[in-house]
């Protein structure tokens, strides 16, 4: 173990090496690393923000969906109600129409029956007169007996 000029040589190497590191390595790399750190921090912050935005958007979407569902429900309900109403109306109309047709038919039937009865009555009175004429074998004064005949016809 002897101290030699190597000591001085090593001191020189050391100084030069430190100078090199200080000049060409340290500032460059620490700046770059700080810059990258900032970028990473920014990126993380952006990611956080994006996550929050996403959450917000999802909330909004869920709300919109719910609203739409509610609206659709309302519309369906309304449609159902309207359909029921239409059916009811149709039923009522149909019933009224039926009633009307029935009534008209009845009236017609009544009329026909009445007419037939009138005809029958006339024919019966004529038949009765003809029968009586034949029975009495003499001409009956139609005018003198018309009241009687009419009474007879009305009784039929």
């Amino acid at each position: 173990m002897n101290i030699t000029a190597t000591l001085i040589g090593q001191m020189l190497f050391f100084v030069v090496f430190v100078w090199f590191t200080m000049k060409f390595v340290w500032p460059l790399i620490t700046t770059a690393m700080a810059e990258r750190q900032k970028k990473i921090a920014d990126g993380l912050a952006a990611a956080d923000r994006a996550a929050k935005d996403l959450e917000l958007a999802q909330d909004k979407a869920t709300a919109a969906l719910r609203e739409a569902k509610e609206e659709a429900g309302k519309i369906i309900e309304l449609a159902n109600k309207r359909a029921a109403e239409i059916v009811d109306e149709a039923k009522q109309q149909a019933r009224a129409e039926g009633d009307r047709i029935l009534a008209a038919a009845k009236a017609e039937v009544d009329q026909e029956a009445h007419r037939a009865r009138e005809q029958l009555r006339k024919q019966v009175s004529a038949l009765a007169v003809a029968g009586a004429e034949k029975i009495l074998a003499k001409s009956v004064d139609q005018k003198a007996h018309s009241d009687l005949l009419e009474k007879l016809a009305a009784e039929l």
Binding site: T4, T6, F13, T21, E35
Partner: protein, 323 residues
């Protein structure tokens, strides 16, 4: 062991001797028996020649490895720095990532330890930590491999060649001294001459009475000077001692290992058995010690670095602050 002809002592001695280029003084009788007529710069051929060179000698292997590793590190860091500054948008990968981790680690350590503003401290810490770590790591290379290659390249079987720069006190003390000079410089510039002298003379003993204080001053000065001078010496010698001891154990294990080989091949059955045990045990020990040494390597590099930062931090402390 290189061959059966050299003894264990020679083997150890050989491994502990540097490749030295220095100035042999006039009048020195060289290894070939010729007396030098004037001062000559040459490679030393023996430890006697190294001793004869005195101060004017360079440990070529230590300096060479230190410089080679410094260039390697400097290139790697420069590459990482350029890459980092070009690609701040993407994540670093591989070696660049590793180097950035090292830088961040050092940066955090320095920020924790060094509270003052000085742009030189963090680069010093980075340089010291990575450089010493790499120089120490050379210890993990198998102890004979690089010297053998060097000997083959130089064509000289007896070439001295040490691989671990930090087992050379010149290297460790060189860095420690440079740190010490910085400590002195910042002590002067931050505290002023008066502040620095005050710090050396008024602590640790002080008194209200001026007469007693006057008696205390030389005592304080002696204590503080020892304290001050102990810093670079302990800094340099701690690293040197640890690495030297570690390498010594590697050498001893290598001796046991190759000795086992020699005994095992001697022919006798029991010698063969014992030799084989030594051979295998030596190999195992080599592995175990290398694994343990990883810890020592890192720890010593870290201690040197952190102590440097602490010393520089103390140099920046103005006396009034730490009452």
């Amino acid at each position: 062991m290189a061959s059966g002809t050299i003894t264990s002592t020679e083997y150890i001695q050989h491994h502990l001797t540097n490749l030295v280029y220095g100035k042999l003084p006039a009048g020195h009788v060289g290894h070939d028996g010729v007396m030098l007529t004037q001062d000559t710069w040459t490679f030393a051929h023996s430890s006697q020649e190294i001793a004869a060179m005195g101060f004017w000698a360079f440990q070529v292997d230590s300096l060479g490895w230190a410089l080679a590793l410094a260039i390697l590190l400097g290139t790697a860091f420069r590459w990482a720095a350029v890459k980092a500054s070009q690609t701040t948008a993407s994540a670093p990968s591989g070696l660049a990532n590793f180097l950035e981790m090292a830088i961040e680690f050092i940066d955090n350590q320095v920020k924790d330890t060094f509270q003052h503003k000085n742009p030189i401290v963090a680069p010093i810490a980075l340089t010291l930590f990575t450089w010493i770590f790499l120089m120490n790591t050379m210890d993990l290379l198998p102890i004979d491999v690089v010297p053998k290659i060097a000997a083959a390249v130089a064509g000289n079987d007896h070439l001295f060649f040490k691989v671990v720069p930090t087992t050379d006190p010149n290297i460790t003390l060189g860095m420690a001294l440079a740190v010490f000079l910085l400590v002195l410089w910042y002590s002067f510039t931050r505290k002023g001459l008066v502040g620095f002298i005050k710090e050396l003379t008024l602590h640790p003993f002080s008194a209200k009475n001026p007469v007693v204080q006057a008696i205390f001053i030389p005592v304080n000065l002696a204590l503080e000077l020892v304290n001050l001078l102990a810093k670079p010496i302990s800094l340099g010698l701690r690293l040197f001692g640890n690495m030297y001891a570690g390498e010594m154990i590697f050498i001893l294990i290598a001796l046991m290992y190759s000795g086992g080989w020699l005994i095992a091949t001697a022919g006798d059955f029991f010698a063969g058995l014992g030799g084989t045990l030594m051979f295998v045990g030596g190999g195992l020990l080599q592995f175990v010690w290398a694994v343990f040494h990883i810890l020592v390597i890192t720890l010593q590099a870290f201690i040197f670095t952190i102590l440097t930062v602490v010393y520089l931090s103390m140099a920046h402390d103005v006396a009034d602050e730490h009452h």
